[in-house]
Amino acid sequence: MIAIVDYGVGNLFSLRSSLVAVGAEVVVTDDPCVLRAADKIILPGVGAFEDAARKLRESGLDTVVIEEAKKGKPLLGICLGMQMLFDRSYEYGEHRGLGLVPGSVRPIADVIPADLKIPHIGWNALHFGGKKHPLFRYLNEGDHVYFVHSYYAAECEESVIATAEYGAPLTAAVARGNVMGCQFHPEKSGRVGLSILRAFAETEE
């Protein structure tokens, strides 16, 4: 059973449907017991970091997610959910993250040429830089996925498992043991995205 953490941020309809489409058993929940009983956890997220991080803390689910991740349970953060895995974010101020992956979240504007549009929105190619993480075992180098973001994960070189080129190589996915994250939206990335979710669903604890 894969549990999607429901802490009142964003629309979980597509994420849930996409997991059903790859044959996964899935539950959308705000219940700590259900999260503890699940085999795997997905932390979604859209919108602003500060607001989402506050809602996650207020729900009390942040400590459950951290505990379960530290026990070795596979955890996948998606988009803002990935950004929250890091130590901190500099989106409108400085905000604390879950601290499961070393690094910080910074504005894309700091690293790309001024003539490129922000947010980085649309389909971009994934580059694996040599070795392919098991999350991408059904993918080919250069497969496209759908991005929408204005901030990116920085100072996390040792955890990066995929990048996307947008005037600079932006962090597209990270992994640190059982903790994984995608900056893009696998649930909106067609066949390629579904195969990433399938690979996550097949991850052994």
């Binding site: 309809f13 449907s17 919108g47 947010p119 496209h144 991005f147 990335s189 579904l194």
Partner: protein, 253 residues
């Protein structure tokens, strides 16, 4: 590198997809769910659903269809038509829309773009504008292109982007349905005015028109069309192959 997006637009009325020439004389084309699945399979990068029903029954039918599409199609979905308030945003987002397109609603309610962007994020708010030249000036038209608002289009677009619209769909009434190519001068004027993604709409009749669009105006992010895709006059796979042959970045397969 980010790819150019090809976006089929599905106008939905009473649960069916329709498309008219110059917004009039609507023809029934096909079931929205079958069409959406077909497009997703052949490489569409995103889908736009326009609800052109006015009745409450039509609205309910539309959200049922949207839910069904969103549970089977895993590419970005934009929904427009009849979006006048935050509760309309809420209604379609709950059914699986990723972005919401506002047109006449933003003209009637001048706070809508700002309030929606604040609540759902800029990336969720798409400004759609129907533009027509009147005595050489770009004017914003409302009510499906039937009513001249008298507003100057570039100023209106700049204002809405300033308030949080994350993308702009520019639909040229002058070229819509004529199949003689996109309205490049109008699109250039918009691209020069704003820095958010611009989606070209109105006028595509052949593959050549998309090649011209992205070659002439590389700052345009996406091309949107309806009837030429519905009637298979242009196949999306073939269109993308041709764009790639012209060194225009696209997502294949």
């Amino acid at each position: 590198m980010i790819t150019k997006r090809i976006i089929p637009c599905l106008d939905v009325k009473n649960g069916r997809v329709v498309k008219g020439v110059n917004f009039e004389g609507l023809n029934d084309v096909s079931g929205p769910v079958e069409l959406a699945k077909f497009y997703s399979d052949c490489g569409a990068d995103e889908l736009v659903f326009y609800d052109i029903t006015a009745s409450a029954e039509g609205r309910a039918l539309f959200t049922d269809i949207l839910t069904e599409v969103a549970s089977e199609i895993f590419i970005p979905l934009t929904v427009g038509g009849g979006i006048n308030s935050l509760s309309d945003f809420d209604r379609v987002l709950k059914c699986g829309a990723d972005k919401v397109s506002v047109n006449s609603g933003a003209i009637r309610n001048r706070d809508l773009v700002r309030e929606a962007a604040k609540r759902y994020g800029d990336q969720c708010v798409v400004l759609s504008v129907d533009v027509k030249r009147v005595n050489g000036v770009f004017r914003v038209f409302a009510k499906g292109g039937r009513e001249n608002t008298g507003m100057e289009a570039i100023e209106w677009i700049r204002r809405c982007v300033g308030e949080g619209a994350g993308e702009v769909v520019v639909n040229s009434i002058d070229t819509d349905g004529v199949k003689n190519g996109f309205d490049l001068p109008m699109l250039k004027a918009v691209c020069d005015a704003v820095s958010v993604p611009v989606i070209a709409s109105g006028g595509a009749g052949s593959i050549r028109h998309f090649v011209d669009l992205f070659s002439t105006l590389p700052q345009v992010d996406a091309g949107l069309a309806a009837s030429i895709f519905h009637f298979r006059e242009v196949a999306i796979e073939e269109l993308k192959q041709e764009l790639r042959a012209h060194d225009i970045p696209v997502r294949l397969g």
